[in-house]
Amino acid sequence: MASSQYHVSLRDLSHVFTDGRQPLRALAAVSLDMPPGQFTSVIGPSGCGKSTLLRITAGLLRPSGGQALIHGRPPQQAQRARDIGFVFQDPALLPWRTVLGNVRLPLEIDSLHRSRPLPDTEELLHIVGLADFRGYYPHQLSGGMQQRAAIARALCFNPSLLLMDEPFGALDEITRSAMRYELLRLWEAQAPSATLAPSGRKTVLFVTHSIAEAITLSDRVIVLSRRPGSLRADIEVELPRPRTQEIERSQPFLDYADHLRDLLTEVPL
């Protein structure tokens, strides 16, 4: 199938949760193709199935209808190849392990290192700015630092696909904004790539509630409707890179923000 030109292909994804008292339709026929190296944000009202979409993409949840493909194959293949990095709103670090122990956790899961070349965890900690904190335990770190450790952990095997579920949602506004530009710096430091060079930019699927976050980071913003979530808009963000904090005051940025705000408030009940 020609789909392998895309890194991620979601085909008519729909999902109904049946474990509650009554069936809950979370997603309705969402289709999305992401070329390699694209930074895509998914934004939408609460409970519109954004997280469900991400979990299906990661192969953690089997969709009720449609399918998710990574390189044209089921996501389990990418799981097995340790080619998916997942970051959650809750850093979900293991509290009994040090920062370094948490970042090295994936190595113990794939203890034979069959899948990928051995990563340099010290370098990873350096990249996320935690080199001096490698021996600290999660409870000794601030929320922002915990989330950096979670990002380093997700990058452990240098996966080509990064799934981020409101990673900065639990942080205070100032830290949140700082983390946004750090992620941007990390991601833009890699060369843009239309192909899948391991050194190229990662394909990122980023779920957020924040309009500013979505525009600042993304090449493309997907707007989902209210539950059951379906594709409402698909917007290319044509702002020059590398982007800095200045961009948030530029007219094009404000135009995108207005447009997105309109889309989100117009969402019919």
Partner: protein, 265 residues
Amino acid sequence: MMQANATQRIMKAFIAYVLPPAVALTVALLLWEIWVSWRDVSIIVVPPPSAVIERFFEEPAFFWREGGYTLYEATLGLLAGSAFAIALAVLMAHSRLAERTLFPLAIVIKVTPLVAVAPVLVILLGFGTAPKIIVAALLSFFPTLVNAMTGLRDVNPGALQFLRSLHASPWQVFWKLRVPSATPYLFAALKVTYPLALIGAVVAEWFTGDRGLGLVIFVANSNLDTPTLFAAVGVLAITGITINVILSLLERRLLFWHQSTRSVQ
């Protein structure tokens, strides 16, 4: 500098943690002593603490030896009961069917009165160490089962999904996530079950005893020898307190990462 600080820290800890309960205990014993002599309470009803302490120091080796037997039986029972409970909890935490099938049986074990079981165990197992271990095991079984089951299930959902996104095996999820997540629960269980196991061993000795503090209490009770009885109870209490202190220290050391071990502030 470091040395001085360490000494100071120990002094501070002593003043903060050891001194207050020691003062409370001394005051309580003094009030007891005064009450007994003031109301002229007969020694066969309640002995004065001085008589109990005197009785203990007549034969300290005897009391410690009998206490040692009881502690030994309680510990073996605790280990057996906990091991069985944890094995069952692993099964139940992974299968709701297993939980539905086996949990009612566990409740039967919990609600059966110990005093009713002990004579049956004597008939079944005779007067050796076995019935004491079994009674202690029965008492420590249920709290461990419930806590282990809750602990094995109480894992951070994000950490679980992260491991699954890396295609971790159930075995890896068990050892890397479930078992460490359950340790605070197991410690909480241990603080309840160790004293329970001691009680179980004492009660079993009472019924089937050839040795141990339970037998000492039984014999002393028959002879209206209250100083011996109270001395035996005192040894039991000291054993329980010591176990609790050791468990608390161990908990602080092993579960430093868990919020329960951090100070309230």
